[in-house]
Amino acid sequence: MNIRPDISETAIGCGSAPVLRERGQREVFCGLTGIIWLHRKIQDAFFLVVGSRTCAHLIQSAAGVMIFAEPRFATAILDERDLAGMNDANDELDRVVARLLERRPDIKLLFLVGSCPSEVIKLDLSRAALRLSQAHMPRVRVLNYSGSGIETTFTQGEDACLAALIPTLPAAPANAPPSLLIAGALADIVEDQWLRTFAALGIGPVHFLPPRRANDLPPVGPNTVFLLAQPFLNDTARALEERGARYLPAPFPLGVEGTTLWLKAAAQAFGVDDALFDKVTQPSIFRARQAIKRHSATLSGRRVFFFPDSQLEVPLARFLARELDMELVEVGTPYLHQTHLAHELDLLPAGTLLSEGQDVDRQLDRCRLQQPDLVVCGLGLANPLEAEGLTTKWSIELMFTPTQGYEQAADLAELFARPLNRRARLKVA
């Protein structure tokens, strides 16, 4: 069955356009950063980074320094005795994990998260996870993944985490009825909205990965089809396919158009007829378009420049170009996954400058030369660019805010409109 959704006729497409590939200084977070939202999403999971003081400091700084409740993450900081072999790193890890589990009896799932130093000294966390699982089962399951900055960029940490969960998912029997799995951490409210939409379409059962509770792992098998809710889930998708699940290619559910095509991919896989699909989605589409319209006066015709950050850049650019008439100056992304982004690239205006990787100083030169109306960039660059007179939207907020689906489409537009509104309000230079 071909479930590739129809592409709107106005699309010209960027599918085969040349991409500017850069290899210089990258100004992006490493994969450890994903812990900031993952530890809130899976409510009884704990993330133990095995790394250096830098890792500990990165996570607490990126998290805005303080989260009020005691966080469900920590770092086992390697010291010189661990490196010099005076301590057996595995014994040390066992001791740290025992202390942690004693302190936090609520933990059901523990992730050992690899870092740059643990990768370089080749500390085998998969063996450690196996050993610790045997020691602490059935109370706690121990898994591992790498969030190291030499292997992962920002959101790839979530990909690695979800991929590590997949071998532990229960197997759905070969004769199980078709089920839909949605991969990618989402705000609870977005999940709840979609559960209602899928129920109205008659699609079910629907499961989410990651689950809110460590023991509510979704079953997976040959009758599972899955949608990606996020564009950075390369390894997760592959691992799901290895479990027999089938990927439903679609654009990503950002904006009205993305959400419709994404839902449509599921509807077609489950044989939902067009009349029902329209009946269920039309009111939401209408409402979302009305809400988005409020921001078009601010955004329409404005020129936007994306620095690479979360891999959400291409879907976001598509949304801004097609639903808000913004002009794309450059769309930078840390990694351009051609397969998962195929539908997105087809929807981008022809001639869009795409860049992959980064050489931050050269990219800043291009940005200054172009003087865009809005720059989407990371926290390290935002204030310096503001001080130069450019208007910025810091991109990490796009990860921390519910933005997917119809009801959030206008909120997403508002995130881009706010810096421009703010600049217009301020009468101080």
Binding site: C30, S52, V65, M66, T75, V120, E151
Partner: protein, 519 residues
Amino acid sequence: MQLTVWTYEAPPHVGAMRIATAMEGMHYVLHAPQGDTYADLLFTMIERNGKRPPVTYTTFQARDLGGDTANLFKDAARDAYERFKPQAMIVGASCTAELIQDDPGGLTQALGLPVPVIPLELPAYQKKENWGAAETFYQIVRTLAGPAASAGAKRERAAGARPRCNLLGATALGFRHRDDVTEIRRLLERLGIDVNVVAPLGATPSDITRLGEADFNVVMYPEIAGPAAQWLQRTFGQPSTKTVPIGVSATVEFVKEVAALAGVDPGPLLSAEGSRLPWYSRSVDSTYLTAKRVFIFGDGTHALAAARIAADELGFTVVGLGTYSREMAREIREAAAKYGVEALVTDDYLEVEARIAELHPELVLGTQMERHIAKRLGVPCAVISAPVHVQDFPARYSPQMGFEGANVIFDTWVHPLMMGLEEHLLAMFRDDHEFHDEAGPSHLGKTAQKPAAVAEAITVKPATPESIVWHRDAETELKKIPFFVRGKARRNTEMFAQTKGLPLITVETLYDAKAHYGR
């Protein structure tokens, strides 16, 4: 391997970044993977700098490890020089690059750049942020100011020339460093002492070469400027100040100390109006501050100063004193002994949390970490030290040092507390539905009310000895004691009952214990 929930200090290369970012015309080339670029946001977001830190990261990846990471470093260093044209460069490695041993110093020397290049060895698995800042500043000073010394430039002040000093230790991302520099400059100006160089904050490499021209050094933050000041003393015979002017008494001592070093008369300055703190503290409305039980934790310099101010200038009782600066453990232990408390020298946040819970202070003076703990325990808190938060960079002028610093400290510490008569009313009418037991200070609004439930599964409550039972009436009476001292009252009563061999605690026992332990 150490289990760490929050860390007080960053790794040492972030200390080096604080020096480089404080300076002008300096550039730092750091061999580090991409994740380490997070450190830029400390400066651009927390401190709201309008410029990127002057740091180039090599951002090597796994695929580079098999290949030539050394060349990657050389390219980065060469490109950084070409693009930024700094007057001098510092080069080094972060934790991961330390493991691959590429020798950034040697690689950069080989490039033959036309500016001084200062290699840094900052052992990331052993040392921390403040040490890294101190070592970096020391290496910069030694390398750049050294040539003047070997040229035999030991200076004598010309007759009639005004005395000159350097202000050392202020960095980027420091706790109120910017305003402290302004305040100390003003004090020195009033004494007739010129400032030769302020460093590292605002200094260029060429300013550093002139450090030897001063008569003496003001060491503002010993954790950072200590090693450099010692070297300057050895090399140029410049004495250093020992007093850190935080608090009224310390400021007066500081004025006398610099006046003596400079050979000027401190009299006019000291007889002019100083801080409002002494009068505010003596004024009768401050009576309610008497013997408030305070717990103090921070970097060495600020914790020591806070303890002295708390005890001598506000009339508090210091019930706990600690630091995460192991470099200053000895000084902290001496001070703690003076206040009759056990010093807490640790960088383990969990240990600090347990100690605060155990001591039941009425006020916590700490870092953002302790603010976090205090909020959870429902205890008022004021922040006295780094690690910093965006709130520690207020828009208004708010130094910690000098007479104005003492004014700022008086306001900052007293504000979170319950005002005098309010505390009495609360004690008298504690069942009042608006003005009850767990109400916070009314001037802080609703948000200050009720301590949040102690977080998820953390139990720090000391257990009641099993042999002792509380009578119901005594339990009820205990609840009438304000919540922030209730734990202490419970423990004292139980301790009293245990020493007296009483199996049942009655209302009478409660009051006997109160009389026994009373202030």
